[in-house]
């Protein structure tokens, strides 16, 4: 089967959905400009030539506007795929995402729907405190938003297509080190996994996790880049006779509890890995709920391996210390066995 990078898979998803449905359009900064980059990580590169600048709509630098216009366009009958250049700028648009997009369906007693996708690149790439944050938890916390966090090309394509067809607002997180952006937009230290993507159309439903590696001794769940860190750790552990099962939830809202809990019931141990700071974050929530739902099956406390509770530092030495990695995961697993 042909292999695509995540950038290529996302682009293909957008293209197919735009061809399928006239109402679908992209909106964001520097996404269509002729001679530009096609978005900060080249996902929309080439699409303005094909669909025109009306449907690959460049905006002023105005995040509140981008999110608000997406909400309005969705109310008015279009299906926007909006983006921010760095996930950190989602904070500039919080009112529109949290108070408007997430709540209008509820406030209207279910009469209104807001079919919009908000794409955001996250993850640390030595860009310091304002261009490095992973911030999925903020949105998992908001009732009314769906949240996707896929880490393979296959999943990125299938889930983005589902997100576009969903009648709810979807936050769609992408990791900068997984994109496989090429040339001048390439990132140092990127994993850039290229994966099998079939030519035929397919969709992936939200709320279905994937077991990336089977194992009997411990369950490790991560998201985005940390799925790969967990797989690295599993290889190291395997050499020492510890078999880890690695789970990739793919979407955070809805979350596939069946897959996670049946794994935990088998292994009796859970480590949650996350690139976000730990306090009040996704890892804490997964840990707490697992303890509530599967306490009797747990042989050890749930362990979290997260970023440290600081802003993202600039110096590479400090950034490495800040981030979760395979060694930290291995140590956490060993502390349970």
């Amino acid at each position: 089967m042909r292999k695509l990078t995540i950038v290529e898979a996302l682009k293909e998803a957008i293209r197919e959905e735009m061809i399928r449905d006239e109402r679908v359009f992209c909106i964001g900064e520097d996404i269509g400009t002729p001679g530009g980059w096609g978005g900060a990580f080249t996902v929309t590169k080439g699409l303005s030539e094909e669909f025109g600048l009306d449907r690959i709509l460049d905006t002023p630098i105005a995040e509140t506007g981008i999110a608000g216009v997406a909400v309005g366009a969705a109310i008015g009958g279009l299906r926007p795929i909006a983006d921010v250049q760095y996930g950190d700028f989602l904070f500039c648009m919080m009112d529109q995402l949290v108070n408007q997009a997430a709540k209008l369906t509820y406030m209207s007693g279910g009469k209104l729907c807001i079919p919009m996708v908000m794409r955001a690149p996250v993850g640390a790439t030595t860009r310091a405190a304002q261009h490095s944050q992973s911030l999925e938890s903020y949105f998992v916390h908001v009732p009314g938003l769906k949240v996707a966090a896929p880490c393979t090309a296959y999943d990125c394509k299938g889930l983005l297509k589902s997100a576009v067809r969903d009648d709810n607002p979807v936050l769609f997180f992408e990791h900068k080190l997984l994109y496989g952006s090429k040339g001048n937009r390439a990132e140092a230290g990127a994993l850039s996994p290229a994966g099998d993507v079939p030519e035929e159309e397919y969709l992936i439903p939200f709320g279905k996790a994937v077991v990336r590696r089977e194992g009997r001794d411990v369950t490790i769940v991560g998201k985005l880049l940390t799925v790969y860190r967990a797989l690295e750790a599993a290889e190291i552990l395997s050499k020492e006779g510890i078999e880890a099962e690695v789970i990739d939830p793919r979407t955070l809202v809805p979350f596939d509890w069946d897959t996670l809990l049946s794994s935990v019931k088998k292994t009796g141990r859970l480590v949650v890995v996350d690139e976000e700071p730990g306090n009040c974050g996704w890892a804490s929530d997964i840990g707490a709920k697992t303890s509530e739902m599967a306490f009797d099956y747990l042989d050890a406390p749930v362990r979290r391996v997260t970023a440290i509770d600081t802003p993202v530092p600039f110096a590479p030495e400090m950034e490495r210390y800040y981030l979760p990695n395979a060694e930290k995961i291995v140590a956490a697993v060993k502390s349970l066995t």
């Binding site: 520097d30 530009g36 460049d58 905006t59 630098i61 304002q130 140092a188 530092p313 600039f314």
Partner: protein, 328 residues
Amino acid sequence: MKLLKKKVEKDLLRRMYYQMLMARRFEEQASLLFVNGELPGTVHLYAGQEAVAVGVCSALRKDDYITSTHRPHGHAVAKGIPVKALMAELFAKTTGCCRGYGGSMHMGDIDYGMVPAIAIVGGGIPVAAGIGLAFKRLKTDRVVACFFGDGASSEGAFHEGVNMAAIWDLPVIFVCENNLYGASTHVSRVMKVDNIAERASAYGIPGVIADGMDVLSVYDATVEAVERARSGSGPTLIECKTYRFLGHSRTDPQQYRSKEEMEFWKSKDAIPRLKAWLIENEHFTAEEIDRIHEEVERELDEAVEFAKNSPSPLPEDALKNVFVGEGS
């Protein structure tokens, strides 16, 4: 070149030339080091816009503040932060102006009146208004100059910050560096007016256009705005027409703009223009100018040496400085 309205002291002119040259050569060095893979992260280089930073900061006092952007190196040089500390910050060393915590995009040092650069586009604009509010309420006569780009003027934060500074007559100088592009997007695609200065009228404050390729034009406009601000008459919006000579960030092929356009603006380069003017008007001889060049090269070499030989932070230093008093 426009003649000065006021008699400008010789050492002020010397400093202007020195700083513009330093800001330019600093970027050329940074660019080289970055391409060679010696600097982590990314860099947004200021080359081409030196007359703006230097023209504005030359009209400020040391105890006045500036706020800056993702493109802060030139502002930092112009506000007088030692070049060693700036270079060391690019190298993520403990001797850097932010001790390796900030890097290129957050350069600054409050001891020199520069708030660490805010790399959220437009984010510094209301912050500058707040600094102005404090300066006013505390009955100082200090002012704050707020640098931002053409692109930033489209952010909601611009409207909110400028309006508040206006209604409360705050001592703020809003300096818009209109370099024609926000990243790859030309200004004409994102605004309906020709000049950002026109937006000032919506807030009831003066909007002035300066030649951002002429340090004396920027200086004159700023002197007037500073006088207004210090005397309690409120903010001014100065739009400096300028151009960035290099890519937006790291390696930018710049296919969104034409060679002709780039050549046109390079022909207006503020540094050779000032040099010619200084010699023509007999402020300095060509030999004296040469010595400034030598001085800049020497200091820059020393700064790179210093940065390379400085210690890196310890990994666990990441835990410090989240809250006040946890510092090194």
